[in-house]
């Protein structure tokens, strides 16, 4: 991919995430979406960078803040919006909602609302892919997304130990927005995430700049290392959540927020930066396409039917 193509691709993904979620902000007061939504506005660059080096048949595991990576990994936008509406045409027929988005055919493992739970599940998937590669010679990779809060869960430490021990094809991505609900990281962690992970000896990255290209280069380097069979890798990407933990609102004035941080990150907005790099004409063209996609997803969701009551009892057991 040439540099202009990369700029365009990253911009399109980030802008689509941004506009999709801005549409949710607009729709939410209508109560058409009766599901908690954890928005990624401000964190789009991470999703775009992380998914860029992945193939469709690579796997990503998500947290409940999963809209951005769901879109960036290629999740069907109509099925996603329909799921948020709770419609039968949703990616999980209305049984998942925002917190458990899933689309196996796009390599998107179901997201979980219990912090950290998808990390070992992703490792289990990676174990299967390591096994598969012995037969096919093709190494698919798993990218495990999680936040800074997840690194405090016991299963995080348990999983990275196991993954290193078994040289699993998994990239651990810690999307560090420094907030667990309303609890800042300095009140939760005795030593840094980097210091805790370093002793395991994995290839590591740490992007603090918010620069989407740096994220992209580092994630690509580490993903290719994983794909080459070198075992797991770990990257921490610092970012910032612009909106409240859950819901569509700003909470700039809440006591846990540092207004200077928010200001700094908003000035460092990668969506605006890449729009400027692309120029007015190209941006307008992409934006028009994105608006169509978002509008189409809303129409699709609104025109779809709710599941019938029989669906309550389907898929309890396989």
């Amino acid at each position: 991919m040439t540099q202009p193509e990369l700029v365009q691709s990253l911009y399109q993904t980030m802008h689509l995430v941004r506009r999709f979620e801005e549409k949710l902000v607009e729709l939410y007061p209508s109560d058409k979406i009766k599901s908690p939504i954890h928005l990624s506005i401000g964190q789009e660059a991470v999703a775009a960078a992380v998914c860029a080096p992945l193939n469709q048949d690579d796997i990503i595991s998500n947290t409940y803040r999963c809209h951005a990576t769901h879109i960036a990994k290629g999740g069907n936008l109509n099925a996603m919006m329909a799921e948020l509406y709770g419609k039968a045409t949703g990616c999980a027929g209305g049984k998942a909602g925002s917190m458990h988005l899933v689309e196996i055919e796009s390599g998107i493992l179901g997201a979980s609302a219990v912090v950290g739970t998808t990390i070992p599940v992703a490792a289990g998937y990676a174990l299967a892919l390591k096994n598969e590669a012995k037969k096919t010679g093709e190494q698919r990779v798993v990218t495990a997304m999680f936040g800074d809060g997840s690194t405090e869960e016991g299963c995080f430490a348990e999983t990275i130990n196991f993954a290193v021990l078994h040289k699993l094809p998994i990239l651990f991505v810690c999307e560090n927005n420094e907030m667990a609900i309303h609890n800042p990281i300095e009140r939760r962690q005795a030593i840094s995430i980097q210091e805790r992970v370093k002793p395991y000896g994995m290839p590591m990255g740490h992007v603090t700049s918010g620069d989407v290209f740096e994220m992209h280069d580092e994630v690509t380097r580490l993903t290719e290392s994983v794909r080459a069979g070198n075992g797991p890798a770990f990257i921490e990407i610092e970012t910032h959540r612009w909106l409240e933990h859950v819901g569509p609102n700003n909470d700039d004035d809440a006591p846990y927020r540092n207004p200077a941080d928010l200001k700094k990150w908003k000035e460092n907005d990668q969506v605006a930066r890449l729009a400027e790099m692309l120029g007015t004409e190209k941006t307008a063209e992409i934006n028009a396409h994105v608006e169509e996609l978002v509008a189409e997803s809303v129409t699709f969701a609104e025109q779809s039917a709710f599941p019938t009551k029989e669906e309550l009892y389907t898929h309890v057991y396989a």
Binding site: I104, S112, V114, G124, C155, T159, H315
Partner: protein, 357 residues
Amino acid sequence: MSMLSNQRLLRTVDALAEACSQEMARDDSVFLFGLDVDDHKAIQGSTAGLLEKFGPDRIFGTPLSEDAMTGVAVGAAMAGMRPIHVHIRMDFVLLAMNQLINMGAKAHYMYNGQIQVPMVVRCTIGRSWGQGAQHSQALHSMLMHVPGLKVVAPTNAYDAKGLMIAAIRDNNPVIIMEHRLLCNAEAYVPEDLYEVEIGKARIMSQGDDITILGVSHMAIESMRAAKFLKEEGISAEVIDPVSLRPLDMETIGNSVQKTGKLLVVDNGWLNCGLSAEVLASIAEQGLTGPDGQPVQVARMGFADTTCPTVRCLEDHFYPNGRTIAAKAYQMVKAQPTATWLPPEGVQPEIQEFKGPF
């Protein structure tokens, strides 16, 4: 039990090992892991020979990380493998509850059928030789509570092999609750591959006067009780539920309509447990005995305490053949205060059991 060829007398652990070995040979997506599964003791012998046959990629010991290892099983199962995750005691399953309940049990439903979780969790309840508070817990009722999980409890080598095979082939998480005292119990086991149906109870002995439902090791004690009762002219029908979720209420219901009396003997606590579930179901169905009267019910199980370590207290923690017989006698004779107690009997699996494991 069905008549299949090439039956041999096998210990339960050997039957489990044979089931795993045959299934691993048949299907290369099956693998087995857990702490100590590949050591020289091989989980009482129940994983013996697998390492030599299948190598360390398909049978391997794990870190002491029950939560994450359960997640690994869930993830591998989602990817199409068929993991068997082994816990040497059931108490350690408490550390795996998050993954079992939040992910394993729910994934198929929550993701609307896009994902299946065909995994097996093997775990053993301990008893005696001081297994005590944290090596003797029966947690089947907690697991039975959750839609999406299946729970089975084999009490003999035949069922152990057939249930293990059925569990491996099942597309849901299946918990196999084994009993430490029954590890070495022998039964005739076919060499062939066969499944014992998950969801089907087994009538262990036919009778007309009372139905006794005995879970796990209590199926053995209930059979002892039936023998004592027979000497008093009481004919007890003993049912081993085999599968706890799904639970075969049809077989139990048919039996109690014949006998009019049901004594549930759980290998676990009573409060909010399997026994309560069975009796609630009987009551809800409004089942009546041959005399048209509502079925008379009672239940026994672990004392409502933590399991003590010392034997003289532990003896009173569990029901046994004598106390079960005495309770059944009271019900059949309609004498709630009858004090008949059978003579001391032998319980070789308890008397002969020596630890330290």
